[in-house]
Amino acid sequence: MRLKTTILAFLLLITSGPVLWAQQQRFPMPEFESGYQYPDAKLPGSGSLAMEYFDVGILVLLLAVTSWLAIKKRSRKWILLLMTGALLYFGFWRQGCICPIGAVQNVALGFSDPTYAVSWFIIALFLLPLLFSLAFGRVFCGTACPLGAIQDIVVVRPVRVPVWVRKSLGMFPFVYLALAVLFATTGTDFIICRYDPFIGIFRMGAEFHLIVIGIGFLLVGMFVARPYCRFFCPYGALLKTTSIFSKNHLSITPSQCIDCKLCKDSCPFDAIDHPTDPKVIGKMKDKTKHFLLYAALIPLLIVVGGWAMSSAHIFLARANPDVYLAHLLVRDPSVMEDLDNLDVQTFLGSDRTVDELVNDATAIQATFRSGAWFTGAFIGLVAGLFLVSQFVIRRRDDYQPNRGDCFSCGRCFKYCPVQK
């Protein structure tokens, strides 16, 4: 007992004088007489680069084959098969990370932080689906995306979502995208990954609330088909924009539409545009004034959006851990005595001073102020374009897939009686 106390006292003595001992081990390795050799601590590597090449290769292959299946071969069966394969591989085998949806944030952070080097294959993951979308429509959503696939296979009894609900909720992906880019460029958080509803299902384990949200999405998805894709997915916002202007796109009929209306209700995602009602066209003639009015409103919406988001920058910046800690310490210095607060205690134990922290936090807040302006302006622009689009009417004589909303799933093929 005496001996132990002495040793402990000695230990305390040497721990209190670390400067003296800094370049030397407290207890040098003993010279063993028994010929003891210490074990070789081999650590497993990080996996070879080949896996990354393989993933990009698989993605290109999937996108190319899906484009062919959707536009030339017109086979729902094969699309479904590919989709299941992609779900098993990218979802359950590769466990969902990293995917093109989250890659948006990596690319955004790469632009704002020059020290953050984005891997080439993340950039490839980000660009490839968009390029394919410009050429062939949203073929990525059709098969390659595991989040889309898991929702696609649970669609059992899709209900029609009213147009106004569909269109207004369809704006949210743009808001989500703008916020994700804001939080990523400020180095605060990757919100898309953090709130990915299906990652917990792919990994068979996650925080409780994420599992609940994921299962909730799947349950809702039985009736409102692909709810995440249509009303949340921020990458979907980009794919939608590119797909609208795509060079080629899947068509419901293999040759000429005979206007038989058989495919009318075949799309669970309400992505089939019906022929334009002549009455509506007549009415639209007087809507030119509205169109001009709302078009003139766009700059105003941009400014209002920018101003509104920018004035919320302090609230938004609180998501940043440094800003949060600075607020906590400045508002309520008594928190420093709270020994259970790990963040505060670790900060006090580090060599950063409160002043340094406050300076850093102020700088981050300033970037939030300007960043939030752009975010708000973008949201304003999207809202403006949405309003204007209500007064644009396109003359259509037949049933066509809506290029922005169609996921190239191929469900409508079998409803068309026309042979090639």
Partner: protein, 189 residues
């Protein structure tokens, strides 16, 4: 005739927008590729920044955590009185459960020769709580420390431990050399 014109106009708008988007994507891609990293990068803990707060054990998306204790044997003092193995206030210097600091008894203590003992981490039991690393650094050489094991880590796009790490010790590092080992005692510059 008039319809054909409309079609042409629509097609013109569409193709010019498409052209613009290809240019935009090319620009974004080109700029991004200029600063791109060739290899892959992985998450890792800087053992000199780590403060053994215990969140590695609780905040990893995996259960048990992909963070494990790593033992640099060349730094170990092979002490009988091991700060990483024995609880503060232990009653006896033995392998009895009540004397062990590790909550899952993941450290094997083996006698080598008087008065030296070898300590080996049993990774299957280790939960990455860092209690041993804290004890070893406080009382010994700091040869036990936490690292993310890449055979277990699923390489999330955003590491959920990094987000809550109070000492900001988890960063992405280059893939080919994916561990930050405490090889020699001095802190790297």
């Amino acid at each position: 005739m008039e319809r054909k014109k409309t079609k042409n106009r629509r097609e013109f708008i569409r193709s010019s927008m498409r052209f613009g988007m290809v240019l935009a994507l090319g620009g974004v891609g080109g700029l991004a590729f200029r600063n791109a990293a060739a290899g892959k990068s992985v998450w890792q803990i800087d053992p000199f920044k780590c403060t053994w707060c215990g969140r590695c054990a609780t905040h990893c998306v995996l259960n048990p955590s992909a963070v494990k204790c790593v033992h640099a044997y060349e730094m170990c003092g092979y002490c009988d009185l091991c700060g990483g193995y024995l609880k503060v206030g232990h009653s006896d210097r033995s392998t009895a459960a009540e004397n062990q600091l590790c909550p899952t008894a993941a450290i094997n203590r083996k006698f080598i020769e008087e008065p030296y003992y070898e300590y080996v981490i049993n990774e299957d039991l280790c939960i990455g709580c860092g209690k041993c690393a804290e004890g070893c650094t406080a009382f010994g050489n700091g040869s036990m420390f936490l690292q993310i094991k890449h055979d277990i880590c699923v390489d999330c796009n955003e590491c959920s431990i990094a987000r809550v790490c109070p000492s900001d010790a988890i960063k992405r590092i280059n893939g080919p050399d994916p561990y930050l080992m405490k090889g020699d005692f001095s802190e790297p510059a």
